[in-house]
């Protein structure tokens, strides 16, 4: 069992920065290489999930439990959900002709008269494995970011080196 590094103490600022943007906490500790690797890998996973499954994979309302994991990515998950809910998510409402009509959640779309105009191109939520894969990508990105946030929360203070004999990244500090 790995012994606890005595140099590591609670670092709220590092933890908060890591929660805001993936990798920002490591930048605070002046570990630029690690910050870049964490940022690229986690945002890459999140963006990859959006690319594979479409913006529907982030849905705070319909997939709230998946969103709990996606929210661990920080504000970018909330931003994508805001875009989805307010600009792209399909709204189904009863039209004047008594039939259900699908429209975008935009004021311009609400003002349209569906009976007189062709239907808008709305998003259709995929029920296939592609949607599941996209959701999994974004959720995994959130869980991996949680590991980075916890690591930044208990860390050697910035400007102080880890001791050479303790800490799993002691040699990293020595080599720089």
């Amino acid at each position: 069992m790995q012994s606890k590094n005595p140099d590591e103490v609670l670092q709220p600022i590092g933890g908060i920065l890591a929660a805001i943007v993936p990798g920002l906490g490591y930048l605070y500790y002046r570990e630029r290489g690690r910050a870049l690797a964490v940022f690229l890998s986690i945002t890459g996973l999140f963006t990859g999930g959006l690319y594979i499954g479409g913006i529907q994979v982030v849905d705070r309302v319909d997939d709230e439990w998946w969103f709990v994991l996606q929210a661990l990515n920080g504000p970018m998950a909330f931003g994508v959900d805001y875009l989805h809910q307010n600009h792209f998510k399909t709204v189904v409402e009863r039209g004047p002709d008594g039939r259900d009509h699908r429209r975008l959640p935009l004021p311009e779309s609400a003002a349209r008269r569906p009976a007189n105009e062709p239907p808008e191109r709305t998003l259709t939520k995929s029920l296939s494995r592609v949607h599941e894969a996209g959701t999994l990508y974004t959720a995994m990105a959130g869980m991996l970011n949680l590991i980075a946030v916890v690591d930044c929360l208990w860390h050697v203070p910035p400007g102080r080196r880890r001791s050479e004999t303790s800490g799993r990244r002691a040699s990293d500090q020595v080599s720089r």
Partner: protein, 99 residues
């Protein structure tokens, strides 16, 4: 990424245009899902790589052998998924019918 940034920076009035029939029914990156329904399992390979990249970025002592460790972990994840799939196949196809 570029497309997503373009969407974010697009005024609200233009977003309806982007998603309207006038724009055609072509594939829209980051809005429509990829047409990988027959080969969805291919998406698991970059997922394994991404998990290994992020996890090892936090855990490695030095970045000297970072990519070597990433490739090792990626291979382990893929082998684990293949082994799990094989075990589930045997269980569902062979063992369950015997019960």
């Amino acid at each position: 990424m570029t497309q997503l940034l373009a969407i974010i920076m697009t005024p609200t009035s233009l977003l309806a245009e982007v998603a309207s029939p006038a724009a055609g029914h072509s594939y829209r990156p980051f809005l429509d899902p990829l047409d990988l329904h027959d080969r969805w399992w291919l998406t698991l390979l970059p997922l394994a790589l991404g998990i290994a990249l992020a996890y090892k970025a936090v855990r490695v002592r030095t970045f000297d052998d970072y990519f070597k460790q990433v490739l090792t972990m990626t291979g382990m994840i893929i082998l684990g998924m293949v082994a799990s799939a094989a075990a589930l196949y045997v269980f569902v196809q062979w063992i369950v019918p015997m019960l």
